[in-house]
C-alpha cells in the first residue's frame, strides 16, 4: 500500500487538536519533574505563533511509556505555541543516558512536520550519544541541547538560516 501524503496543518487547527492539559506529560512511574520552555523562530527571526508542538519520550525509568486508562497518553505532550512563539511543557526527566524528547513541529507553511530532538543533558553527554554520531564534531549539535536556567530547560528552535536547528528525516 502506498502512503497518504502529508499536507500542512494550516492556521485553524487549535480547537480541534487542543487537549486538556496537553502540555502536562504523565507517566505511571514517579520521577524528577522538569520544565521545557521553548520558543520557535522563523527564517527572519520572527516568532512562529501558530505552531503545534508534540513531544514523545521515555519514561523516568527509561521505558517506552505504558498504556494508561484515562487522561492523556503517557509520555506524550501536545501544545500550541503562543503568539510570541513560546511553548511550555511540564514533564519528567526521561530515564537512561543522554535523556531527550523527540519533537514534532507542525505549522502553517510546513507541508510536512519537522522532526527534531531536544536533549536535557550536558553537551558532552549528547556528543557521546551514538544517535548523534554524524554531528559529533559539528557546532550545530548545540541546537539540540537545552540550557538550564532558573530551574527550567530553555530551548530555542530556529526553522531556517543562522543557527538553524538540526532536523531529522522521518
Amino acid at each position: 500500500m502506498e502512503r497518504t501524503p502529508s499536507q500542512t496543518i494550516g492556521p485553524f487547527f487549535h480547537d480541534a487538536l487542543r487537549w486538556r492539559d496537553g502540555h502536562r506529560v504523565s507517566f505511571s512511574e514517579p520521577g524528577t519533574d522538569v520544565v521545557l520552555a521553548g520558543r520557535i523562530l522563523d527564517g527572519a527571526g520572527q516568532p512562529v505563533g501558530d505552531a503545534l508542538v508534540e513531544t514523545w519520550q521515555r519514561s523516568p525509568t527509561g521505558q517506552t511509556p505504558a498504556a494508561c486508562k484515562d487522561g492523556n497518553p503517557y509520555g506524550f505532550a501536545r501544545v500550541e505555541t503562543a503568539k510570541d512563539g513560546t511553548f511550555r511543557i511540564e514533564t519528567r526527566m526521561p530515564g537512561g543516558p543522554a535523556p531527550h524528547l523527540d519533537v514534532t513541529i507542525l505549522a502553517r507553511g510546513l507541508l510536512k512536520p519537522l522532526r527534531t530532538r531536544v536533549y536535557l543533558a550536558p553537551e558532552e553527554e549528547v556528543r557521546a550519544d551514538p544517535a548523534m554520531k554524524p554531528l559529533a564534531g559539528s557546532p550545530r549539535l548545540k541546537s539540540l541541547v537545552a540550557r538550564q536556567e532558573g530551574g527550567e530547560y530553555r530551548w530555542e528552535v530556529r526553522l531556517q538560516g543562522d543557527g538553524e536547528t538540526v532536523f531529522f528525516s522521518a
Partner: protein, 230 residues
C-alpha cells in the same frame, strides 16, 4: 536515503515557493537521519475514554441541523503492508458550508453557522474503520496569490500506533476544479500520490434520503512495528 530514492515522493517538499508561507519556514540545512527504529516503537497509546460517544457526529452539536449537504465519511486506517491500524485516534476539522471556520483567526467574510463547529474525533475499530457524520465544507479565499481559493477539504490528524506513523493531511473531493490551482494540493509531486488525498463518492456509505456517502482510506508509514492495538 537509498531507499527513499527508489520510490516516488509521497510527501511534498519543505521548500515550495508557490505556497508563500513556506518561504521563511523551510529548513535550508540537510536533514539528519535518525537511527532506524528510533520512532518505530508503540505509542502514544491514547486511552479509550478520550473519545465520547457522539464525538464523531459534527451535525448534532447545535439546536438544529447545520446548513449544508450532509455526508457520511468513512474509511480505513492502514499501514503500508495493508494491515488495519486499530484503536487509533482520528481527529478532523473543517470549514462550514459557507467556507468559514469557527476559529478566532478566520477573517473570511462568510457567515458562521451556530449549529456547526467543524470538530470531530473518533477511534478506529478492530478492522481499522472510522466513520464521521458531517457536512460538505465550502471553499474559501486565502491570500496566497491572486484569486486564490482553497478547494473543499477536511483536515485529518492521525496518530497511528507509533510515532513514526504521525500524519496530518487534508482530504479533498473528487472533481473539484480548484484542485488544479491549489498549491497545497499541487505541492505533492507525484500525481498518483495526490489522488490518494481525494475521497471517493460511495453512495451506499450514505444514508438513504439523508446523507451522501464518501469513502477515504488512509495509509500510514512504518509497517515494521505497527502494534495491533490494545
Amino acid at each position: 536515503m537509498n531507499d527513499l530514492s527508489k520510490r516516488p515522493d509521497h510527501d511534498p517538499p519543505y521548500d515550495y515557493p508557490p505556497y508563500g508561507s513556506t518561504r521563511l519556514r523551510f529548513p535550508r540545512e540537510p536533514l539528519l537521519e535518525l537511527p532506524a527504529g528510533a520512532l518505530d516503537v508503540p505509542g502514544p497509546l491514547v486511552p479509550k475514554g478520550f473519545v465520547r460517544d457522539g464525538d464523531n457526529d459534527l451535525t448534532n452539536k447545535g439546536k438544529s441541523a447545520p446548513l449544508g449537504e450532509k455526508m457520511i465519511l468513512a474509511g480505513r486506517l492502514l499501514d503500508e503492508s495493508g494491515r488495519p491500524i486499530r484503536d487509533s485516534l482520528v481527529e478532523i476539522w473543517q470549514a462550514n458550508a459557507s467556507g468559514r471556520y469557527d476559529h478566532v483567526g478566520d477573517q473570511h467574510d462568510a457567515p458562521l453557522d451556530p449549529n456547526f463547529h467543524g470538530l470531530g474525533r473518533t477511534f478506529t475499530d478492530d478492522d481499522g474503520w472510522y466513520r464521521f457524520v458531517t457536512i460538505r465544507p465550502g471553499s474559501y479565499p486565502w491570500a496566497n496569490h491572486a484569486f486564490a481559493w482553497r478547494p473543499q477539504h477536511i483536515h485529518f490528524s492521525l496518530l497511528g500506533n507509533a510515532p513514526i506513523q504521525r500524519l496530518v493531511t487534508q482530504m479533498y473531493f473528487p472533481g473539484d476544479p480548484l484542485l488544479d490551482f491549489d498549491p497545497v494540493y499541487q505541492s505533492v509531486p507525484d500525481e498518483a500520490a495526490r489522488k490518494r488525498m481525494t475521497c471517493m463518492l460511495q453512495l451506499d456509505t450514505g444514508i438513504e434520503n439523508v446523507a451522501l456517502g464518501y469513502r477515504f482510506d488512509i495509509v500510514l508509514a512504518g509497517a515494521r512495528a505497527t502494534p495491533l492495538g490494545t
